[in-house]
């Protein structure tokens, strides 16, 4: 194809490029086609990788609402995922398992819900926990809030380990039905991106972003701090809980160590690498870190390279990720995208028709 026809195409399509509605519908259709293609053509391993990527996008985006846009840096999201995961497991697990291993009230023991209500329950549970435990923590500032939110993580893990009647202790809950598939995950990704996109340009979103930029200034301009922080946190908690539910129905088990500090650390990495306060950045970051983790996984487990048997190296990926993150923090603390969004306008330079 020569450049001439390429330029013509872009020029004639310019009016379509400007039209958001058509572009969004077209985008969703293209995504649907890609997903259909992926679902039918990928082998088990790569299919699972795409699913993990999708879940990571959900978790990263919801973490970004608080940690990126609103500037409330929380490490407590692991606890919220745990809450969502346990909630969905409890309402979907086989009745026989619940009767034998757990000691639940009768209505919960016999409950068998399909995926959508289970997911909603997971989201609502996470929201309630985020609201009740973390809202008081908003009195804390800066480092103290980070520490307090880390406490939420430790507390939730501790509760999951010790309230055996409901959580089955350290062994956790096994045998959740395999509901998660590519359609559920990416439908939620699309909904979440749409909600974030519209909310962040609405009055609510602008208030949240103002708080993230400068809390004192926002307050001076009449932004109700606690109201909008609570709003951002509950929005984030809900989708974190949903992400935990999707994860549970993909891995099929959940235990107290499922979402420890390392998991939160990975999601924080995805957010920070991609770009604080950027939707496309979060998606990019989730893609980069998911890929890095998967590439490092076989090396970690010991592989044969050019005839040499490499030993098992557990912890290698965490070491490299940590190094990578420190370098990012030193040289590009706002992440790859910063606060910008990727848009089709960035592709204009391809056509040599750079209109600012």
């Amino acid at each position: 194809m020569n450049t001439n026809t390429n330029t013509n195409n872009v020029n004639t399509n310019k009016s379509i490029l400007e039209n958001r509605k058509i572009m969004s519908i077209g985008g969703i259709l293209v995504l649907g086609l890609i997903l259909l293609f992926l679902e039918n053509n990928l082998s088990g391993y790569y299919h699972r990788l795409v699913l993990l990527f999708g879940i990571n996008v959900i978790l990263t985006l919801s973490l970004n609402i608080t940690n990126g846009y609103a500037g409330i840096f929380s490490l407590g999201h692991g606890g919220l995922m745990l809450a969502g995961g346990y909630a969905t497991a409890l309402v979907t697990l086989p009745v026989s398992f619940k009767a034998s291993a757990l000691n639940l009230p009768h209505w919960l023991e016999t409950m068998q819900l399909p995926f959508l209500p289970a997911m909603l329950i997971a989201g609502i549970t996470a929201t309630i926990i985020g609201f009740t435990i973390l809202l008081p923590a908003f009195r804390l500032k800066g480092h103290y809030f980070i520490l307090g939110s880390l406490g939420i993580n430790v507390i939730m893990i501790n509760i999951a380990e010790n309230v055996r009647a409901i959580t089955n202790g350290a062994t956790g809950l096994r045998g959740a039905p395999p509901y998660t598939n590519i359609w559920w995950i990416f439908a939620i990704v699309v909904i979440l991106v749409y909600l974030m996109w519209t909310l962040m340009t609405s009055k609510y979103g602008r208030a949240v972003q103002a708080i993230g930029k400068d809390e004192g200034l926002a307050q001076a301009l009449g932004v109700n701090l606690s109201k909008y922080k609570a709003f951002a946190f509950m929005f984030s908690s809900f989708f974190t809980g949903v992400g935990g539910a999707l994860w549970t129905h993909l891995i099929l088990t959940i235990s107290p160590s499922s979402f420890d500090l390392l998991v939160v650390f990975q999601i924080v990495m995805m957010m920070v690498v991609g770009g604080v306060a950027s939707i496309t950045g979060s998606i990019l970051g989730a893609a980069i870190i998911t890929a890095m983790l998967e590439i490092l996984q076989p090396i970690q487990e010991g592989m044969v390279l050019f005839g040499f048997k490499l030993p098992q190296m557990f912890g290698l990926s965490q070491v490299l990720l940590a190094l990578f993150l420190i370098l990012i923090m030193i040289y590009k603390p706002d992440g790859l995208m910063g606060e910008k969004e990727f848009s089709l306008k960035h592709l204009r330079f391809l056509s040599g028709n750079n209109r600012e």
């Binding site: 940690n67 500037g71 840096f73 008081p136 923590a137 009195r139 804390l140 800066g142 480092h143 103290y144 980070i146 520490l147 307090g148 880390l150 406490g151 430790v154 507390i155 501790n158 380990e161 010790n162 500090l261 390392l262 650390f265 924080v268 920070v272 190296m313 557990f314 912890g315 290698l316 965490q318 070491v319 990720l321 940590a322 190094l323 993150l325 420190i326 923090m329 030193i330 603390p333």
Partner: protein
């Protein structure tokens, strides 16, 4: 619940309290000069414990050599952290600093898991430290007393240094207001380095004490004691050495008593105790129990 029982529990908790106190002092000093939760402080503590384990079990050296080498290793680790992780991001926002220290912590811990595996290794406690005595019905182990006395002496010396020497005055100056301290001709870089040396050395001693008391070390050993140490630092009022040490003891003894007084079904909830205390303190008196040395905005 007799008085003897309570006294016994408090005595048992003395060594845990001492370790938390040593960690808390390190945290409070580093937070004071840098405004940074040095999340990797728990890992510096772990490095000290590991070094002592190797010196004792592989070289068969006496304990005092192990302590010195542990201090050297931890100080080295602390200095490397300061130079290559924290100095480049100094002056960035709270969140950048915190993410850096979190990454450093997880990186070091994973590096040790990579090299030594995640299982515990036995820590060889010398026999002359394993003596026990009875006072009436109360059992006292030598180790408990030695760790406690050692910690108390170290803390008192340190607080005298901070109070009276030029170095100590400069440290307090930098933590109170860095710009003004620099304007007065204090080289804040060397003060920060000195703070890291002292903090890391204390962490190493806490690490050796941990090994002696519990008989094993593992790469993830620094996580919970590290957090408890920081909580003790917050409790003691950031920047206040004596406050941090006393709060370390309160947390250590409190944890043990928390388990001792509640029915045994609750013993799994022990980690919750420190968080409970933290939340209560932060809500009632966010500046901690004792006077702080930090300017609060």
């Amino acid at each position: 619940m007799s008085l003897t029982y309570i006294l016994q529990q408090i005595l048992n908790a003395l060594s845990l309290g001492s370790m938390l106190a040593l960690l808390a002092v390190g945290y409070t000093m580093i937070y004071g000069v840098l405004g940074l939760i040095n999340f990797a402080h728990g890992e510096v503590f772990m490095i000290g414990a590991f070094t002592a384990t190797f010196v004792l079990s592989l070289l068969g050296a006496p304990l005092w050599i192990a302590i010195i080498l542990a201090v050297v290793a931890s100080v080295l680790a602390g200095l490397l952290l300061e130079r290559f992780c924290y100095r480049p991001v100094r002056g960035s926002g709270d969140i950048t600093l915190f993410i850096t220290s979190l990454a450093a912590s997880i990186g070091i811990r994973s590096l040790f898991i990579l090299i030594y595996g995640s299982r515990s290794r036995p820590f060889p406690t010398p026999e002359y430290l394993q003596g026990i005595h009875f006072f009436g019905d109360i059992l006292v182990t030598d180790l408990n007393l030695i760790i406690f006395i050692f910690t108390a002496i170290l803390t008192i010396i340190l607080s005298l240094i901070i109070k009276n020497t030029d170095l100590g005055i400069a440290m307090r100056g930098v933590s109170y207001n860095k710009t003004t301290a620099e304007a007065m001709g204090i080289n804040s870089n060397s003060i920060i380095v000195a703070t890291f040396i002292i903090g890391s050395a204390l962490a190493a001693i806490a690490g050796v004490a941990w090994g002696l008391q519990y008989g094993n070390v593992r790469p993830s050993m620094g996580y919970l004691p590290g957090i408890s140490g920081f909580i003790a630092a917050v409790l003691g009022g950031i920047g206040n050495i004596t406050g941090a040490a006393i709060s370390g003891f309160i947390l250590g003894v409190g944890q043990v008593l928390f388990v001792a007084f509640l029915p045994s079904t609750f013993s799994g909830f022990r980690p919750l105790f420190v968080w409970l205390i933290l939340f209560i303190i932060l809500f009632i008196k966010p500046t901690g129990l004792f006077r702080t040395n930090i300017k609060w905005e």
